[in-house]
Amino acid sequence: MEDVCAKFVSQKISKARWRPLPVAALQPPDVFATGSWDNEDNRISIWSVGDLGSVGLNGEYQGEPQLLCDIRHNGDVMDMQFLDQERIVVASSTGAVTVFRHHQNNQTLSANQRWEKAHYHVDQDTSCGGAACTGVICNNPEIVTVGEDGRINLFRADQKDAVRTIDNADSSTLHAVTFLRTTEILTVNSIGQLKIWDLRQQRNEPSQIFSLTGDRVPLHCVDRHPNQQHIVATGGQDGMLSIWDIRQGTMPVSLLNAHEAEMWEVHFHPSSPDHLFTCSEDGSLWHWDTSTDISEKPSFLHQGGRSTTYLSHNTINQSVVSAWLSNDPTKDRMEITNLIPNQTLSVNTLDILGPCLVYGTDAEAIYVNRQLLA
């Protein structure tokens, strides 16, 4: 907890994302972007986090995020994702999708490209017909967006028109989207359904539909396991974390009672996927840890040299898989920690990369922890 650095920024933070690291990078991430909501003047901001512990020229604590640049954004920032090292795609509540470019030489942001009416209700030409764009996901150069109009758009950076649009893909609001494979996407909606769409196919129907058992509680967020592509996690309006195995069945494999209110984001740790993070309207941020102790492994795995180590690593991965998919999560020990000691207002967003965690709240504060899995 001592490693968490808080900064009050005079705007409610709806999204925070680490800038992705170049492939061969060894150091932890040090730049992140945030988007605000519910302001008359919303902003996209880029922040830099220096080295922990060192003291700056004026004696200020160097670990605190420093604002590099920001730019005005029209409408609430509903979702945000880095397209590459310099470009960020932002989804707006006005229905527009904008690509911003961060010029690192003079530390400025500029709007590179915009699809003004990516999401709209009924009639594109009526002025008040904009529908909020609720989710965006990128796989350079492809950008997929979803919105309150139930529409799915496939854009390509630098191409003016949409490559593909699926109108009325869903009769309810699509809350989030993520890539399953390079040609398949996953969406979640407000009647508790998880859908797989195959973008290669021309028909405007999902290739598979999964639903929650029981009440059709709206699903707000979705994330796919980085290595095991059949494991998907979703978060619901009742704060429930659902783990799905999309190879089998149409219902979730495990339901974990987590938060007391809407779960806004769920993320598998990209390099240590036995760690999962969720944040919620109830003001908490939970760290789910299914990594089991090495000492508990059978002894034969510890003998020998490198080959055995490789073997044990593989086996650990397998046991991790079973940990997420097991029907009895208490059997394989799962440690769940609330990372926020005094919770007040909603934690709207979180992002995790390497050992660094950033999260933003409705109390107009950003928190950075750069020594998370130490």
């Binding site: 920024v9 909501w37 609430d76 009769s171 609001t173 009647i191 059709r216 809407e262 409705d362 109390a363």
Partner: protein, 622 residues
């Protein structure tokens, strides 16, 4: 109606000219709307048909300053922490906890002041610069007042430690010594610097004996002739008794020592030891608490409350809290000397020294433009159990009144309304009803915002507001043809009537188009199907179609029969159902189906007959 204690301030609305047009106005939650009417000043229609302008008059502009938002958010966290903190802690530990809360509030004010200062120096706009600079001085005054209230009320320092706290207070807040000190010390020959004696004097006036002695030693080494004088003065300053924080000596012991020391100083002065050096002589007089000598250094002290604390230090260090008022009043009179009247800040501080808490709060409310300061301070004092339940004439107590006003102000801000919710929660009498009224007026431009507002209402069992919000969102969705969203909102509110409305829409669409839209929704209704009969019918009817499409005719027929007998089909749909039954009737299947067909026919005919009878019956009766 209570009497006004001050003349209401006059606010001029720029651009509004009552001589040209008559104006009308209406009160809002935190502002007044002023509008030009059609009528001219003489009451006739001379104003003409030209367009009317609308003015929004707000008392509190501060709430829109970016930097102050940090103050509101951080203090919100402290406020919540205080409300949640354990009441079981009693005595010393509770007091220590409350003092810590007070210190937290003050550090938040200081952080905000720092940011505001940065904003002031970095802006190029002169209007903004002046606005920020004003804010810096307001924040500085707030911290000054809060700190004094912390010493006198929250910590309730007793005689002895009281003086030490007041000395800290003065050193922290009054007159900027550090710049002067740095200038003097960094010069080649400090004792020859023109400000040298000023610095020594101010150290003495603030009771900073060690620092004064350190500087004096430089003078001594530069001026060997005055070494003797210096040694005596240094010795006196070293020996000066001060109250201790711990329990190392009682007040009586201290008073005795002090009396003794005072007499020694007196002797040296009367012997003319310092006669040759006017500076040192004046210092000795100050040590003796000579008011005139202290008043001579008025320019250094800058304020009457500094003068007060210096006086107390050198004439009455064991002052009791209740005795402060007399010294305060006389200090202010002596210092201001009738030249100028007291400023609002002076009045507030005086009220604090007189332990008139209510007066402090009242004066602050008048002087400051928003309720932040008084609301939080009063809440803290209330937790210290210092405010009697001073009921105001309209029913709630002062703490609640101030919190309600502050929170209402937050609700008038497009973004800070979320903070206001928690403040209303901690107003036991009227908080809930205020919240109910305010939360309905929050504009819901996205579904996510609506969800947040909804969650707030649900957590507080505000069922009416939940229903109303869900209905608004469901209607919006319906108008945009998002039937799935509309259904999702009805499920959240458990609104059967709306679910029926949505199902009717689906059925209507089906009748018009001959096929279902949004199959992904209807096929996956799950238990929400039971929310309304019509919805159940819709789900089951779709299931019938599916069974038929899969050629499972016997099951399809059974289902259709059930739909007809269960009375959940709307009357308008009966024709459709019967039409659906026709192909089944023509199927050549086994006996099972035969019996069913007969059943269906019988039922259909019976229903038709019944309807005819009713229809004819009614016609005859009319």
């Amino acid at each position: 109606m209570e009497e006004l204690d001050a003349e209401p301030p006059l606010t001029v609305v720029p651009g509004a000219d009552p001589s040209a047009r008559q104006l009308c106005f209406a009160w809002g939650p935190a502002e007044v709307l002023v509008c030009e009417t059609l009528f001219g000043s003489r009451g006739t229609g001379e104003g003409g048909p030209s367009s009317s302008r609308l003015f929004v008059v707000r008392r509190d502009q501060d709430i829109y300053i970016q930097t102050l938002r940090k103050l509101f958010n951080e203090s919100h966290g402290i406020f919540i922490g205080l409300q949640r903190s354990e009441e079981e802690l009693a005595g010393k530990s509770r007091k220590a906890q409350l003092v810590q809360v007070s210190k937290n509030y003050r550090s938040v004010i200081r952080a905000c002041m720092e940011d505001m200062h940065q904003a002031a120096i970095s802006t190029r706009d002169p209007a903004l610069h002046s606005q920020y600079s004003t804010q810096v001085s307001i924040l500085s005054a707030m911290e000054l007042i809060w700190n004094l209230c912390e010493i006198l009320f929250v910590e309730a320092a007793a005689a002895g430690p009281l003086l030490l706290r007041l000395l800290d207070w003065v050193r922290l807040h009054v007159c900027d010594v550090d710049n002067m000190v740095r200038e003097v010390l960094s010069s080649e020959n400090p004792s020859k610097h023109e400000l040298f004696w000023n610095v020594v004097d101010i150290f003495v006036l603030q009771g900073r004996m060690d620092e004064a002695r350190h500087l004096l030693s430089k003078e001594a080494s530069a001026n060997p002739t005055s070494v003797n004088m210096y040694k005596i003065l240094d010795d006196l300053m070293k020996k000066m008794p001060v109250p201790s924080l711990g329990n190392t000596q009682t007040l009586t012991e201290m008073e005795l020592k002090w009396q003794h020391w005072h007499e020694e100083c007196q002797r040296y002065l009367q012997d003319g030891t310092f006669a040759s050096n006017s500076h040192m002589e004046s210092i000795c007089k100050i040590l003796l608490g000579d008011e005139d000598a202290i008043l001579e250094k008025k320019e250094l002290m800058t304020t009457w409350y500094h003068f007060l604390v210096t006086r107390l230090l050198y004439s009455h260090p064991t002052v009791k809290p209740m005795e402060l008022r007399f010294y305060a009043q006389s200090s202010m009179d002596l210092f201001l000397g009738g030249e100028s009247g007291p400023e609002p800040l002076d009045t507030i501080l005086m009220a604090a020294f007189e332990f008139e808490m209510h007066q402090v709060i009242k004066e602050c409310s008048i002087a400051l433009s928003n309720w932040w300061f008084v609301a939080h301070l009063t809440d803290l004092l209330d937790h210290c159990k210092l405010l009697q339940s001073h009921n105001l004439y309209f029913g709630s107590n002062m703490r609640e009144f101030l919190l309600l006003e502050y929170a209402s102000g937050l609700f008038s801000h497009h973004s800070l309304w979320q903070l206001g919710v928690d403040y209303f929660d901690h107003c036991p009498e009227y908080g809930r009803v205020y919240l109910e009224l305010h939360i309905e007026r929050i504009p819901l431009n996205t579904e996510q915002k609506a969800l947040k507002v909804l969650r707030i209402c649900e957590q507080r069992q505000m069922h009416e507001q939940v229903r109303s919000i869900c209905k608004i969102m469901a209607m919006k969705a319906l108008r945009n043809n998002r039937l799935g969203s509309a259904l999702s909102w009805s499920i959240r509110a458990k609104d059967a009537a709306f679910a029926t409305l949505i199902s009717d829409r689906f059925l209507k669409d089906y009748c018009e188009r001959g096929c279902f839209s949004d199959l992904d929704l209807i096929d996956n209704l799950g238990p929400s199907m039971l929310l309304s009969d019509r919805l159940t019918f819709l789900g089951k009817y779709r299931e019938f179609h599916r069974l038929y499409g899969e050629k499972r005719f016997s099951e399809a027929a059974k289902l259709l029969l059930m739909l007809m007998t269960a009375h959940i089909a709307p009357c308008s749909f009966w024709m459709t159902l019967l039409t659906d039954a026709l192909p089944l009737l023509e199927q050549k299947e086994d006996d099972d189906v035969e019996t069913m067909k007969v059943e269906m026919l019988r039922l259909a005919l019976a229903r038709n007959l019944a309807r005819v009878i009713v229809k004819e019956g009614t016609l005859e009766g009319s």
